[in-house]
């Protein structure tokens, strides 16, 4: 199974290196096929690793230092760094961990990644810089796999940083667009805040336990230290997963190409925060308050994002806020202690969110890159395949049985009820309200874009791809994901059969406090489904048949449109002072001192040269004088010395 892990990790990296080395010698499309096949090889490796863990006959102690038997294997390539103080040795090896949790993530990343990279071959066809795109995408898959396969906290952090880098590179892919460049910088800077808090948490761990292996998370530190470490990790998770208060970068990240939005900002990178909390659950359970703060953050985000999504007019932004909201659900799940429920929602979310993005990409690609839903009406008539796939994804998102979202989302909300405490019930209400909002904004989007007669804009600009709605490389992944979004949830229905939870139990067992009873499950399911259907009905009434009028509520509308004024707040508090300081420093220090150093050096050298030039008088007598003077000096030296 470790061979599978190494193959999974190395294949996309090999793809990137191959594309970089070949450069412009290969045709543009070839870069796409190199990338796709490298990720496909990674998927094969992931399957190999998965079966390896599955067939492990008896649990083994992986050497985390805690006594719980684990499943899986920890393989070390070599010791990466090592330092010793006193009799403590701090050493970090190049380790890969294959256990149930990482196997699931590997399958998701490489599997969904493979489909999305295949889709990119069709989507990015004709772009001038296709090769660079595919090199970046393969590099991203490698980084994400490193993150999930990392066998210790330091390698996880390396993967964490690299996915941030890949995200920056890909958001700003069309770098001639200033808005894309700004969005890329914004994403990177906000992620860096999370990286900093994670690093601080690691420093505390190193100081007290002299190790960064996963086992240290079970070590008992003092309660303040535990809380600080957990807070640091939570900060990183919040930044990477775009939860409040570090969520403003995600909508802007839609400047990148649509497959990038599908892969990075829906299916994989933004879910890394959820994975982190599940992986480091040992320390979160010791700092229960922080874990509940994570759940609260998730609950708050899922509501706020849902409200903002109600007024968005860009098709990709609606789906982006939807992502933010669904990750809120996942945070809620892992925050209360239902790790497998959160991870299961991660799995189904990967399916239907990638599907939604890719279907939206089909529409955008076909209608001259138009993303404003006010102009796109009645596209469904011209693109039926897309319409039905999008509908499947939308129903999965809202959580209508038998689509996949139903099975995963309800477990989370039921776990909140299982807590029994006052905040548990608040979370439960948030979850149900969120289901209503999800139905509302999702089907607002669907009703505005797909059914009915095509608008004049659509009629004028629609062009198909040789009689089909898109290239086959785009249609096939969308179809596969539509099937997965429809049937994928049948993997687990918590009250009746739960292979997924049992699979993850060795790595991330659900807390007993968060395990709902069957009654709670059924009750919650009923509540959320009714809420979802209500949302769909309201959307149908308002946006399709125009029977209901929306109340004006201008203040609310403005607040939603300004995304609850977060951007303005950060601009005033962080950006303006920093920009002012930078301006002052540039004027007072950099220009006169630093930038002047170069010219000053040059002028000094020239002046010195001028001075030296005076010695070259060209007169014989001067040179002889120097000779005589030199001879006198030498004799003097002789006299003194001897």
């Amino acid at each position: 199974m470790t061979g599978g892990a190494w193959l999974c990790l190395a294949a996309p990296l090999g793809g990137t290196i191959a594309i970089l080395l070949c450069g412009t010698r290969i045709p543009r499309a070839a870069a796409g096929w190199i990338s796709t096949s490298s990720v496909a090889v990674a998927f094969a490796g992931a399957i190999w690793a998965f079966f390896g863990v599955h067939s492990q006959s008896r649990p083994q102690i992986i050497g985390f230092g805690n006594a719980l038997p684990q499943r899986g294997e920890l393989t070390t390539a070599w010791t990466w760094l090592q330092s010793a103080t006193g009799h403590h040795v701090f050493s970090v090896g190049l380790q890969l961990l294959v256990d149930p949790l990482s196997a699931v993530m590997m399958l998701i990343v490489s599997g969904v990644g493979m489909l999305i990279v295949l889709y990119s071959v069709g989507y990015m066809d004709g772009d001038d810089e296709e090769r660079r795109y595919f090199a970046y995408i393969s590099f991203f898959v490698f980084s994400m796999l490193l993150l999930v396969e990392g066998g210790n906290l330091l390698l996880l952090l390396v993967g964490w940083g690299l996915v941030g880098l890949s995200s920056y590179l890909l958001i700003g892919f069309w770098h001639e667009r200033p808005s894309a460049v700004q969005a890329a910088k914004k994403a990177f800077v906000m992620n860096a805040v999370g990286d900093a808090t994670m690093a601080l948490a690691f420093f505390i761990l190193i100081a007290h336990t002299h190790s960064l292996s996963f086992g240290v998370l079970s070590v008992h530190l003092s309660s303040t230290e535990t809380s600080l470490v957990a807070l640091g990790l939570l900060g990183g998770a919040v930044a990477k997963s775009a939860q409040i208060p570090l969520q403003t970068w995600l909508p802007d990240a839609m400047e990148g190409p649509t497959p990038v939005s599908a892969l990075i900002h829906a299916a994989t990178m933004v879910t890394a925060g959820v994975y982190l909390i599940a992986r480091t659950h040992a320390i979160f359970e010791q700092a229960r308050t922080v874990e509940l703060i994570a759940a609260g953050t998730g609950a708050l985000t899922l509501l706020v994002a849902g409200l903002i999504a109600l007024v968005q007019t860009d098709i990709k932004r609606v789906i982006a806020y939807s992502t933010m909201s669904q990750i809120g659900y996942m945070f809620l799940g892992v925050g209360v202690g239902a790790y497998s429920a959160g991870m299961f929602h991660l799995l189904t979310h990967a399916f239907f969110k990638a599907l939604l993005f890719m279907a939206a990409g089909l529409v955008i690609h076909a209608v001259a890159n138009e993303q404003d839903i006010r102009k796109l009406r009645g596209v469904g008539k011209l693109m039926p395949f897309t319409k039905w796939c999008f509908l499947a994804g939308a129903l999965a998102l809202v959580g209508i049985p038998p689509f996949s979202g139903f099975f995963s989302k309800d477990s989370i909300v039921a776990s909140a009820a299982a807590l029994g405490t006052w905040y548990g019930w608040i979370f439960w209400v948030c979850g149900v309200l969120g289901a209503l909002l999800t139905g509302l904004y999702t089907f607002r989007l669907w009703f505005l874009v797909f059914p009915g007669e095509p608008s004049p804009f659509v009629r004028e600009h629609y062009h198909d791809h040789h009689g089909r709605e898109g290239a086959w490389t785009m249609l096939v992944p969308v179809g596969i994901l539509a099937l997965l979004a429809t049937f994928g949830g049948w993997l687990q229905w918590a009250p009746k059969w739960h292979p997924f939870t049992s699979w993850l139990a060795p790595a991330a067992p659900t807390l007993a406090a968060a395990a709902p009873t069957s009654t709670q499950e059924y009750f919650t399911s009923a509540a959320t489904v009714i809420a979802g259907l209500a949302g769909i009905a309201i959307a149908w009434a308002v946006y399709s048949e125009q029977r209901l009028a929306i109340p004006a509520a201008p203040f609310l509308r403005r607040t939603f449109e300004h995304k609850f004024w977060f951007d303005e707040l950060y601009d005033a508090v962080f950006y303006r002072p920093a920009a002012a300081l930078a301006g002052v420093l540039f004027r007072e220090f950099e220009e006169p001192v630093v930038l002047q150093t170069g010219p000053d050096l040059g002028e000094t050298t020239l002046a010195a040269g001028d001075l030296m030039r005076r010695i070259q008088t060209g007169l014989l007598r001067t040179y002889v004088l120097f000779l005589a003077g030199g001879a006198a000096a030498v004799v003097l030296a002789f006299l003194i010395v001897r």
Binding site: L625, G629, V635, L639
Partner: protein, 190 residues
């Protein structure tokens, strides 16, 4: 008693000759440097060479003294006078133009060298430069010089002859007429 008288008279004679020769040496040296007419400078140098020959005689270097007069005063200075005559009369004020930094520096450098030599001599005088002893009668004779030259210092002898050859060739080349067709762009007035 007689020997002592003779010796002291001989000593006094040597000293007198030395003082006279030294005085003329220095005076002619100053004259070489000071005259504005190069012809007079050359004549002063001939006087200098003659005084030097006397000094050499005092130092039991008879052959060298003879060679000095024959070669230096006889051949080299004659060559000098030929060229000065060929070049023609020209006057140059030796110390014209006031003290430039060049002249000040020159005086300083020459003075420094002089002072250093005197100091060196003075310092070492205590140890090594005491009164000398006797030298043998063959010291300084042509036969003796010839033997030393051709046995101990044969290499110097040969190299010197090569140097002379090169100088002769160089002199011929430098003094030959310019080839036809080579322009004279830097013609200037005399």
């Amino acid at each position: 008693m007689n020997a002592l008288v003779v010796a002291s008279v001989g000593n006094g004679l040597v000293w007198i000759v030395w003082v006279v020769a030294g005085f003329s040496l220095l005076a002619s040296g100053v004259a070489v440097v000071s005259f504005s007419n190069p012809f007079y400078s050359a004549l002063a140098l001939i006087g200098n060479l003659a005084s030097l020959a006397v000094m050499y005689l005092l130092l039991s270097a008879e052959f060298v003294a003879a060679a000095q007069v024959l070669v230096y005063a006889g051949a080299v200075m004659v060559m000098f006078l030929f060229v000065i005559a060929y070049v023609g009369p020209r006057r140059e004020e030796a110390w014209s133009g006031g003290p430039t930094w060049q002249s000040v520096g020159a005086v300083l450098a020459a003075g420094a060298l002089l002072v250093e030599i005197v100091v060196a001599v003075g310092l070492q005088a205590s140890g090594h430069l005491g009164s000398d002893g006797k030298v043998g009668p063959a010291f300084g004779t042509p036969a003796w010089i010839g033997r030393v030259f051709l046995t101990d210092h044969l290499l110097a002898f040969e190299i010197t002859s090569v140097v002379l050859l090169i100088a002769a060739v160089g002199g011929v080349i430098l003094g030959s007429h310019a080839r036809r067709g080579v322009p004279n762009p830097e013609a200037s007035t005399r």
